[in-house]
């Protein structure tokens, strides 16, 4: 591996981490679309910053760009507050307007510089190692590594300092206000971080893909955990994983790095979406299927409970009487036998003590919805897990 390759992967990983952190909170706040808006509307800020400094590496560009990101959020909220249009419409109105101002400014005045529309949209990670940070002639590494490094350190410090505040204002803005943690301050803080991060990631992955880096890792992590800290860590992990494997995919395909990174992000999400243990699609379908069988089981046990007469409990009678297909009857009877809930003696089915107990508890739960007594059977049956 050459040092340029290493540098690219390092930059991509830092970008992924810096994006995953605000991204997690955006997803939890149901504001994923805002990241799209921010990523497009920082363009006029970048361009104006460039006109002032005539230096693409100036920190003023980042500040101006972040500012226009925050302006976008303010405008969206202002339009939405009038109640004349809904939030998603407001977002759809504001960011194209901001973006087009940027595009016009570039095409009018900056035709001859590196700030062209392709780079803005897609970024170019492969060129990042060529732009060095030189101090007194000493090579301190690629400039974008420094930019995203500083942004990441700021983001991490803010996250550690205000984790509790971010959590409460995201979960319950009303209580946060009552306790004196102004949700507005935290909201704009988060928006500023998201804007600054977008600017930092811009160089590397461009305006469109930065959205994927913010949203996809968080959305993937959300399917896997019930814990905010773990969700943050998983988001970071998925981000870095996709950044590095995306780089090698691009290397192998000889294609765009940012495109490959996003492809990996999408594939990772798809895998988790399908196979996540609790919230994955397959697990949900399996659970539904199991619940269906368990409802049948309960119906069956209840029938046994209600009838002492032998003819009602004959195994063939059950087939006809409960009106199920053979397969279903068999799987229900098997399930009941496996759990020692019934005994079969000369084709006559009887409830065992355990089966009777179970039926009583289950019926009681279904009628009262009070789940304090069914803790013991929750583990074995999906039906009672709420």
């Amino acid at each position: 591996m050459t040092s340029a390759q290493l540098e690219i992967q390092l930059i991509a990983s830092l970008v992924a981490i810096a994006c995953a952190i605000p991204g997690t909170f955006l997803v939890l706040r149901k504001m994923a679309l805002i990241s799209d808006a921010i990523s497009h509307s920082i363009l006029p800020g970048l361009v104006i910053g460039f006109f002032i400094t005539h230096d693409l590496g100036s920190p003023l560009l980042i500040i101006m760009a972040a500012l226009s990101g925050v302006v976008t959020v303010v405008l969206v909220e202002f339009i939405q507050k009038t109640k004349l249009v809904k939030e998603d419409t407001a977002i759809g109105l504001v960011f194209p307007a901001m973006f087009s101002i940027g595009v016009i400014l570039i095409s009018k005045n900056a035709n001859d510089i590196h700030l062209d529309t392709d780079v803005v949209l897609l970024g170019e990670l492969a060129f990042a190692p060529f732009d060095r940070f030189l101090l007194d002639g000493m090579d301190l590494g690629p400039k974008s590594l420094w930019t995203i490094g500083v942004i990441l350190i700021i983001t991490l410090s803010l996250l550690f300092a205000f984790f509790k505040e971010l959590k409460i204002s995201t979960f319950d803005a009303g209580l946060a206000t009552a306790l004196g943690f102004s949700p507005a301050v935290l909201h704009y803080g988060l928006m500023s971080v998201a804007s600054v991060t977008t600017v930092g990631a811009f160089d590397a992955v461009g305006a469109i893909l930065v959205v994927a880096l913010m949203i996809a890792p968080a959305a993937t992590a959300y399917l896997l955990t019930d814990n905010l800290k773990k969700m943050l860590l998983l988001s970071v992990f998925f981000g870095v994983f996709s950044a590095i494997s995306g780089y090698w995919l691009a290397h192998w395909l000889d294609a765009s790095i940012s495109g490959s990174m996003t492809t990996i992000l999408g594939m990772v999400f798809l895998l988790v979406y399908l196979f996540a243990p609790k919230r994955g699609l397959i697990s949900v379908l399996y659970r539904n299927k199991q619940q269906q069988i368990e409802v049948s089981l309960l119906t069956f046990l209840l029938h046994l409970n209600n009838h002492t007469e032998k003819n009602e409990r004959h195994i063939n009678h059950l087939n006809e009487h409960i009106n199920w297909q053979k397969v279903r009857s068999k799987s229900v009877v098997d399930l009941a036998l496996r759990n020692n809930m019934i005994t079969i003696d000369k084709d006559i089915i009887s409830l065992t003590e355990k089966g009777k107990n179970f039926t009583d508890k289950a019926i009681d739960y279904i009628i009262t919805n009070d789940d304090s007594k069914i803790e013991s059977i929750k583990e074995d049956f999906f039906l009672f897990r709420g």
Partner: protein, 246 residues
Amino acid sequence: MKQQKFAVTVDDLTVAYNYKPVLWDIDLAIPEGVMMAIVGPNGAGKSTLIKAILGIIDPIAGSVSIYGKPYKKQRKLVGYVPQKGSVDWDFPTTALDVVLMGTYGSLGWIKRPGKKEKKTALESLEKVGMLSFKDRQISQLSGGQQQRVFLARALAQDAAIYFMDEPFQGVDATTEIAIINILKELRKEGKTVVVVHHDLQTVPEYFDWVTFLNVKKIATGPVKEIFNDDNLTKTYGINYKVSVQK
């Protein structure tokens, strides 16, 4: 009962959404140590009144004081149970963690909850009978359990005045009784409890003080004196009959 000292005083409070008043010139004094129901029809501004007292909504006129000082200086004296529907229960967190949020107010900015706060949170969970659910993800709790977690969170605030926005909404009879017993316990400790309440039948049984609200304040005072058909009719606008056990 000593009734001279007021826990909460509301003066000329007016709140408007988009220039349409939802609360109109409210004067209200809540004596210390009462258990008060706020009743009124939908859209009467009951939740709004609580939110305005807690500074969650800015009024366009009027002022609120908690033991004689503005709310902002008295935050630590006030506990709050919002409506259950006001939060996203799919949020990745546990019951214990939600209750821990009740201690954030006394911690202030940046400082993190430590052992002391965790102990408070565990004790609060125990009080509402939810200790065994402490590590359960909150979406895995039933509606009644979620409401208990919210109550535990308010208990963890260790306040002198509690505001609760429809704590009985969507809970079964057992949970309702459990909650009301905890509230009565709070009152015994000399705390003031203010509850937005919907079930008029249970007002005389649960509360000793009541405020009738319908955009304007209709009446406020002891349940025994003012909880009558006259005030109910004025508040609900229809000829309301409720059997009051005196």
